[in-house]
């Protein structure tokens, strides 16, 4: 038996700004760490999205709720609680690119943006 159909996309970084927001991983999405960054899986479509984020995004626990994506310095912020100031607050082009990447993931339904406490 072969697999349920999959499709593959790569989300890349561009430029924009989305500072000051936290990013919730919806119940229907799984995300795990890989060497290149994060690998998202949408359980509704079985679609994979490869995100070349390096250490800038940190996967939350595989299951449970709520699950917030860790954003910013590698290894910081991934937890089941909304991190204070969890938005992409890095200054300059890197922060803007990360913000755009996060917006792209929100548009794909892989993240939900929420106001950080």
């Amino acid at each position: 038996m072969a697999s349920t159909e999959r499709a593959f996309e790569v989300a890349d970084q561009a430029s924009a700004d989305g500072a000051g927001r936290a990013y919730l991983v919806p119940d229907w999405v799984r995300v795990r760490r890989e060497d290149f960054g994060l690998l998202f899986y949408d359980t509704r479509s079985t679609r994979l999205t490869f995100v070349r984020s390096g250490d800038r995004l940190v996967a939350p626990p595989f299951t449970g709720s709520p699950r917030f994506l860790g954003v910013g310095a590698g290894g910081e912020g991934a937890s089941g609680e909304a991190p204070a100031g969890a938005g992409p607050s890095g200054a300059g082009r890197g922060g803007a690119a990360l913000a755009h990447l996060l917006e792209d993931l929100v548009a794909k339904g892989l993240l939900v943006a929420a106001a950080a406490e």
Binding site: A2, S3, E5
Partner: protein, 361 residues
């Protein structure tokens, strides 16, 4: 639309594999109530190697959850013949693992369908090998078309949300793919076409069932015009550029997926369940360790089809399915004998949505 993964990341998976499979094919039982002529898993019954008990299944699911495997594709045999199968599905869902079940559909009744509907989404893939009884029953057994259709009708009546009808494309049914697609649509199901390979029972029926070159060329064109049709990455070596964004551009065995046999033996993929590729057994070693560092998996990840490097389609298929070449020649690293270039020379590929011609008996 973001750029496709294929040219940018997947080729590197051979040198930098994923930390865990994206999905695992788990042949949960060798038992089956049908005797299909092309069955991939026909060898399971004859080998009688036993199957994991419920506790062992739970242990494996614990490991899959630890590895963060996204999806398990259950097959067999017929999975619903296992009395504890719904319990196994429940346990997978408890761990947040998405499940897909390949079934022959003959055991679907109201009680079972309602039980499945109450679970987290279970993707059902019902096997049917023709658009009519005359074709299907030659392959899957006399009277099976009507029995399978009864299960499909029940799924449709109950409004089952996520099911597909799967046809293994053979010489017998290749001209029916259009009718098969219409049949699936009639029941609100997705159409899924899978590749016939010379493994398992397919070794014995290969010469009679393998599609002709003409049929393969027509199938390629048909798939090119029907992006909505699922293929489970069966035909990546055959499909035209228009489907490039729809799935893998290379064999994912040992890189993105692997297979577990009923007794816990681990192989690169279900089509390579051969002693030459046995990588370990989950009752003796953790699947994570087998995937990461077993010699057969490392060899498989390093496999290169050198003869295909000069082909204009190399970036699309990277040599195709290694299993087909292996079972025909017992050698690895040979070009897929059914790739698009083998059936349609360069410059003659018609990428129109043509339906395969029906043969007049």
């Amino acid at each position: 639309m973001p750029p496709l993964l294929s040219d940018r990341l997947l080729p590197r998976l051979s040198s930098a594999p994923l930390r865990a499979p994206v999905n695992v094919t788990w042949e949960i039982t060798g038992a089956c109530n049908l005797r299909c002529a092309h069955c991939l898993s026909a060898g399971l019954r004859s080998q009688r190697r036993g199957e994991l008990d419920l506790d062992q299944c739970r242990t494996l699911l614990d490991e899959l959850a630890r590895m963060q495997v996204f999806q398990v594709n259950f097959g067999g045999g017929e999975p619903f013949l296992r009395d504890d199968f719904l319990e196994i599905l429940h346990y997978a869902h408890h761990h947040g693992i998405t499940t897909c079940v390949s079934t022959n559909g003959t055991l679907l009744d109201e009680v079972l369908v309602d039980a499945l509907l109450e679970m987290a989404p279970v993707y059902l893939q019902v096997s049917l090998d023709g658009a009519c009884a005359g074709t299907n029953d030659v392959i899957r057994g006399r009277g099976t078309f009507e029995r399978i259709l009864a299960g499909i009708e029940l799924l449709a009546e109950r409004g089952y949300p996520d099911f597909s009808l799967n046809m293994v494309v053979t010489r017998l049914n290749a001209t029916e793919v259009g009718d098969f697609d219409r049949l699936a649509r009639r029941y609100g199901a997705k159409t899924r076409l899978s590749r016939f390979r010379p493994s398992g029972g397919g070794c014995h029926t290969w010469d009679d069932y393998r599609p002709t070159k003409k049929q393969l060329a027509e199938l390629s064109a048909f798939l090119g015009g029907h992006p909505e049709i699922l293929t489970g990455d069966s035909f990546f070596a055959l499909t035209p550029d228009s489907r490039r964004n729809l799935g893998l551009n290379m064999c994912g065995a040992a890189k993105m997926t692997c297979a577990v046999a009923p007794d816990g033996s681990v192989y690169p993929c279900a089509f390579l369940s051969d002693p030459a590729f046995l990588a370990g057994n989950v009752t003796r070693k953790r699947l994570g360790d087998i995937f990461a560092s077993s010699a057969p998996f490392e060899r498989f990840r390093a496999l290169e089809v050198e003869a295909c490097r000069g082909c204009d389609r190399f970036s699309i298929c990277h040599g195709g399915c290694p299993a087909v070449g292996y079972f025909l020649t017992e050698a690895m690293g040979l070009p897929d004998p059914e790739c698009l270039r083998a059936v349609v020379p360069a410059g003659r590929i018609a990428e129109r949505a043509k339906e395969p011609a029906k043969e007049v008996a």
